[in-house]
């Protein structure tokens, strides 16, 4: 395969033996040289750590002690006994439940509304405003919402007070803290998904829709039987990226708004790994948690690969 490809380009051209040899020798080393920087860094900071995490999960260690003790799968057994692990596992899925459906339904709905607007002057305005949180740093977003959520002087409780309701201590109550963090994450992510959906809707050839209108299809039917199926690759992309976002990036609001509390009610797996390793210094148990988290992510990866394959067929 290597040879046929290189010959194809210069089939009609006579080549001197010297040129062929020079090209051949360069063929061997050069691509690896170009790959080397990326490959070395990738192995050092991504792949080797992956295996090392698994190695550490069978050890008893606290970062400082020069000696690591091999203890087999004891860390995993200890983990299964801890309430923290089960709570954070359940919370990881609760975050997904509070974030993923919202991130599909609302952005898609708003994007559909935007396609109905004919004025080209207002459209960029809506897009620009909605997209703003995407470019803001998540730490700043968290600061703003920490202030909005402030129980005694925050805007939300003032606002609720106007309607005659009692203020809520959003972040310090077990029932409201996790939904509140999900809400901040939703606020941050909404504009991005809205824009992706809108772009995908714009990419649907207008002839399809016109044909359906001529055939007398209602707008509801056009949506269910035409737009939604055509959007499926985009929906899938958003689904996968949002699942990862809601389990990985949500670390930032967890650490900034609640520190995983009250009573671990907002701790997810990623935050648990952070706490067990960098606050309790139990590297073994933290690595075991990380390994289990990774296994969960492999399921998501599997979906992603399926999605990529689908894309390839779609484009071919």
């Amino acid at each position: 395969m290597t040879d046929t490809d290189s010959k194809k380009g210069s089939l009609s051209l006579p080549r001197s033996p010297l040129a062929t040899r020079r090209q051949f020798s360069r063929f061997k080393i050069a691509p690896y040289l170009y790959l080397a920087p990326a490959l070395v860094l990738l192995i050092t900071f991504k792949y080797w750590p992956m295996f090392f995490t698994f190695f550490l999960s069978t050890m008893k260690w606290n970062f400082i002690n020069p000696v690591k003790h091999f203890i087999g799968f004891s860390n995993y057994i200890e983990l299964m006994d801890r309430e923290l692990f089960w709570t954070s596992l359940v919370n990881t899925f609760r975050y997904m439940l509070f974030i993923v459906p919202v991130q599909i339904v609302i952005p898609l709905f708003l994007a559909l509304l935007l396609t109905h607007i004919s004025s080209n002057r207002v459209k960029p305005f809506y897009q620009a405003v909605m997209f703003t949180p995407t470019v803001l740093s998540f730490a700043i977003v968290c600061m703003i919402w920490l202030w909005m959520f402030n129980p005694s002087h925050g805007f939300l409780n003032h606002f609720i007070g106007l309607a005659g309701f009692e203020g809520i201590s959003w972040l310090s109550e077990k029932n409201t803290a996790l939904p509140a963090i999900s809400m901040v994450t939703n606020w941050k992510l909404l504009g991005y998904n809205f824009l992706i959906f809108y772009a995908a809707l714009q990419a649907i050839p207008s002839e399809y829709i016109e044909a359906a209108v001529i055939d007398g299809a209602s707008s509801g039917k056009i949506f269910w039987y035409l737009k939604l199926p055509l959007l499926s690759p985009t929906t899938f992309f958003i689904l996968v990226t949002t699942i990862i976002y809601s389990s990985d990036r949500v670390f930032i609001p967890i650490n900034m708004l609640t520190r995983g509390g009250p009573f671990y009610s907002t701790t997810n797996l990623v935050f648990a790994i952070y706490r067990i390793s960098f606050q309790f210094f139990n590297v073994g148990v933290a690595s075991a948690t990380a390994t289990i988290t990774f296994l969960i992510f492999i399921v998501i990866t599997y979906l992603q690969i399926k999605y990529l394959q689908k894309r390839v067929h779609y484009e071919a």
Partner: protein
Amino acid sequence: MKRKINIRFLPTHIILLIACVVIFFPLLWMLSTSFKEAGEVFTHEIRLIPHAPSVVNYVYVWKSTPFLHWLLNSAITAIGITVCQIMTSLFAAYAFGYYDFFGKKFLFLTFVGSMIIPFAVIMIPNYIIIAKLKLQNTWWAVILPYSVNGFGIFLLRQYILTFPKELFDASKLDGANSWTTLWRILAPVIKAPVFALSIVFFLDAWNMYFWPLLVLTENTTRTFSIGLQYFVDFEEGQDWGAFMAASTMGAFPALAAYIIAQKQIIRVYITSGLK
């Protein structure tokens, strides 16, 4: 006729406007609070425009925090990460687009596959590496683990593959080696996607939180996001006028860039999402 259409779309506009208010109001509230004096911050009154606007909070933040250090650290690490990611991506993508070689498919999957490794899974070993190299509290601590980006390799390879192979061959016939071809032939045409990708990389790096939190532990070495967090802890979470002033100043560079290059940035994110 035109009026009629407008009225028909009134509910649509109302819903979209409500969404815009929900998105934009918290930002205005941040700005408003930052210009209020303590007495006005802690009232039960909702006022967007302060009674007596004052910059006292800004002055306080400026005096009590190494704010310029934070911004500088954020900027340098973000630029460093962007440059490293672009260079490693460009070289690797060039190898995948220009050459055929043994193990090509496997290596490509290795790169693209790295995108789905969650940071939390590799964070402890990364921390150990940085600690062993004694790099904590340096820019390199933040940059090094983030100097490769599988997505960049994937996207740039896509562009290089659409590039006509004849031009590569012609350049080869002219006696140019692959290095010259990369800079003379490929670089000029790949400038636009590289620039676009740089914006996405830069904003991502600028917004980094988790990793700098672990490796930057001194007040003057922190990046902005981490500094903000410690400022809040230090003030025991009470001085909201100052916190909002700090947030406003931190948000300013990104918002300014967004206002200037809004259309380009939006387009970049669309293409990166759809690819």
